[in-house]
């Protein structure tokens, strides 16, 4: 790793009532190669990040006629269609759990993931005027886009709880794993979004690939079918798709599916981490071109 974009060091200053005794000096110079991640700067701008998330949520709910209902309509209707065609007509097995809730429990984190992807991939281009006129760590933009989906997730989750009540399934102590799985979803969503949003600035057709990508990914994830259809070792290898770990984990934690998908979740976590870390590095490297190209 060569020269970082910004170097900060503290200098003692005399005089001037306006400056604190310890003033930071910012050095602006061309960066070469891989750029330092500067995550502490992200922390310094956390208030802005909060405001961007708040703005994304507010705007989403103010603009749509359906408002909050949209967060529920998408997973519920997908569940209905799947239940009819895959569950009833196709007779796909569902690990002993009623098919509708089997698939809905997977759709809740999945919708959070795919919505995050579609919002974030165009987020940089959509915030072009901000990026061209104000300085802030550009990572805030896709992070805000992905995180703002948590509100929708919460609503869809309510419906899931309602369904569990209906089917008489009561979760045990395993629900403590849910935040971990949510974190895994967030990691994956963010990791892929960083790659996509950075690429989208240079290739504007990336955001048109997203619907296609998410469709494929949907079927590559055991939402409509159980992963037990696969035999080992394929099943574990399959969980390189991080959403596999998420979905199986959700089902296990909430609905009491058979064995704990421990190894699968571990593999998924590693894959997600790899995507995230590489995504952050790539994003930071491309960041200097954003204001000029967007």
């Amino acid at each position: 790793m060569t020269l970082p974009l910004l170097r900060r060091h503290h200098e003692r200053n005399r005089v001037s009532h306006l400056m604190q005794p310890d003033t930071q000096v910012i050095r602006i110079e061309p960066s070469k190669g891989w750029v330092a991640l500067q995550l502490q700067e992200l922390w310094a701008y956390r208030e802005l990040l909060y405001f961007l998330i708040w703005r994304d949520v507010m705007v989403r709910y103010k603009q749509t006629a359906l408002g909050a209902a949209w967060a529920i309509i998408q997973p519920v209707f997908t569940m209905l269609v799947f239940s009819l065609f895959f569950g009833r007509l196709g007779k796909i097995p569902s690990d002993g759990i009623p098919y509708p809730i089997f698939t809905y429990a997977a759709l809740v984190p999945w919708t959070f993931f795919s919505q995050g992807l579609s919002q974030a991939s165009n987020s940089l281009v959509g915030s072009a005027n901000l990026i061209k006129k104000v300085y802030f760590p550009r990572l805030c933009v896709p992070i805000a886009a992905v995180t703002s989906g948590l509100v929708d997730f919460a609503l869809a989750f309510m419906v899931l709880l309602g369904m569990m009540l209906y089917y008489g399934i009561f979760p045990g102590v395993k629900v403590v794993w849910l935040p971990v799985l949510l974190l895994l979803t967030l990691t994956t969503s963010l990791g892929v979004s960083l790659w996509l949003s950075a690429l989208n600035v240079h290739f504007r057709d990336v955001r048109h690939i997203i619907p296609f990508l998410t469709q494929l990914w949907l079927f590559a994830t055991p939402i409509a079918y159980p992963s037990s259809l696969l035999s080992e070792p394929w099943r574990t290898l399959y969980s390189i798709n991080p959403m596999v770990g998420v979905v199986e984990g959700f089902r296990w934690a909430l609905l009491g599916a058979e064995t704990a998908p421990g190894l699968m979740v571990v593999v998924s976590f590693l894959a997600a981490l790899a995507i995230l870390v590489s995504g952050i590095f790539y994003f930071r490297r491309l960041e200097k071109t954003f204001a000029d190209v967007v």
Binding site: L5, L6, E11, N13, R14, V15, S16, H17, L18, M19, T23, Q24, V25, I26, R27, I28, E29, P30, S31, E47, L48, Y50, F51, W54, R55, M58, V59, K62, Q63, N129, L130, I131, K132, K133, V134, Y135, F136, L199, H202, F203, Y282, R285, L286, K288, T289, A291, D292, V293
Partner: protein, 430 residues
């Protein structure tokens, strides 16, 4: 004051524009079609973006620009369109990276490159204030503290909770500027935000910026409004085609810039007699524009007077000589002509050979804000024109001090006294 706030050292910024078309053979086309995806991926991973660098034209928006700004200084950046002013501000605001050189910034920077950045139409004025404040770098506590001030400054209290899409453009601007005006960074970078809005709004902005400058903050100000620059800034730098053309006191730099724009000299003088053709009976030696306290200048405020000083040499005794100055405005309309023989003691006399210096004062509260040019002539009424200087001096009248609302039409806009009385006051029935 004394420590450096901003130091710019050999900053350069290169942009790639367009692509030169090259004649391609089929072999080339096929070869590049196969290689292209791999080349593209390689470029992407290196962070160079999608554009093919080989055949592109490259321009230097900035080249080898160096200067220093001390704490507490208010420095203006002027130059024509495309000179690189906005690029310089973007680099200092860390929005884009320099290609060469470096800059050092000592202190917290607040950048105002646009008014209303981040405003969203669906959100209310209140919500946008918080959002915009956060974007500009204020934290929530700060915005809470200043919220009432901001709303009062913007004069949109009644509408603060309606979505901004219902605001008129004036309200929108006032609110946006109000938020920006309450930024309190150590270093403030401002880019032509005063270019939008009506005269009243611009005055308010100037006033606020003046207050900010007086608080001892360092300000870097880019504008085309020369009046604002001379009013607010102590020093100025001029950029031309990406390079630093000159730097010095605001008055000097603005004057030099304006004269180079108009193609004329602020002070025209001819010391070499043989270089001037025409009659030798009367020769103009120099013409100058001065402020009331005899400083050379190129801009006056609406409420200030301007001295015109003409030095000329009379070679032979001449009777009935008149020396006149003519004022043309930017529409090429002759505003007035005035001659020294308007003074009775100079009318109809004989002027003996000598060097004469004539000064006349253009009164304040008369000329419409805008650009003017002065011409001079020496002639004998009804007989001959001895010498003429066409459009040799240029000056601006700025809107500062102009209390006339709305803006006036007409060649001049004098401030006249009006006396109004009512019939009912005089106890008469009409």
């Amino acid at each position: 004051m004394g420590d450096i706030a901003i130091r710019v050292e050999e900053i350069g910024k290169k942009y790639r524009i367009g692509k030169a078309e090259k004649y391609k053979t089929l072999r080339d086309t096929l070869a590049s079609a196969f290689a292209a995806p791999f080349l593209k991926v390689g470029r992407l991973l290196r962070g160079e973006g999608a554009v093919d660098t080989g055949q592109d034209e490259q321009i230097w928006a900035l080249k080898e620009v160096s200067f220093e700004v001390r704490q507490g200084e208010v420095i203006g950046v002027i130059g024509g369109n495309g000179a690189g002013k906005s690029t310089l501000l973007k680099i200092l605001s860390r929005i884009t990276e320099p290609t060469t050189g470096f800059a050092e910034i000592h202190g917290r920077v607040g950048s105002l490159l646009e008014v209303g950045t981040g405003f969203h139409q669906e959100l209310t004025g209140r919500e946008n204030t918080y959002l915009n404040g956060a974007i500009l770098g204020m934290n929530k506590k700060e915005i809470d503290r200043k919220f009432d001030e901001i709303v009062a400054f913007s004069e949109v209290e009644k509408f603060i909770d309606t979505p901004v899409k219902h605001y008129s453009s004036g309200m929108y601007l006032r609110l946006a500027f109000a938020v920006a005006a309450h930024l309190e960074p150590e270093i403030l970078i401002v880019d032509e935000v005063l270019a939008v809005g009506d005269a009243g709004f611009q005055q308010k902005c100037l006033g606020k910026m003046g207050a900010v400058a007086k608080e001892g903050r360092t300000v870097l100000f880019v504008s085309h409004n020369m009046g604002a620059i001379t009013q607010l800034c102590g020093r100025a730098v001029q950029l031309e085609k990406g390079r630093l053309k000159r730097s010095g006191s605001a008055g000097e730099v603005v004057a030099a810039y304006l004269s180079s724009v108009a193609g004329t000299e602020l002070k025209s003088s001819w010391s070499d007699e043989s270089s001037k053709p025409n009659d030798s009976d009367v020769r103009f030696k120099s013409v100058r524009l001065l402020s009331p306290d005899e400083q050379p200048l190129a801009i006056i405020n609406f409420n200030e007077s301007l001295l015109v000083e003409i030095a000329y040499e009379v070679k032979v005794p001449i009777r009935n000589l008149s020396v006149t100055c003519l004022l043309h405005d930017s529409m090429n309309c002759l505003v007035f002509e005035s001659m020294d023989t308007d003074m009775p003691e100079w009318n109809g006399c004989v002027r003996n050979p000598d060097i004469y210096c004539a000064t006349t004062k253009i009164p304040p509260l008369l000329l419409r804000p805008g650009r003017y040019q002065l011409s001079f002539a020496a002639f004998v009424e009804g007989v001959r024109i001895i010498e003429r200087l066409q459009r040799v001096l240029t000056f601006d009248v700025s809107g500062v001090g102009c209390t006339l609302q709305p803006k006036r039409d007409g060649v001049v806009s004098p401030v006249l006294d009006w006396k109004v009385c009512r019939a009912s006051e005089n106890g008469r029935m009409v």
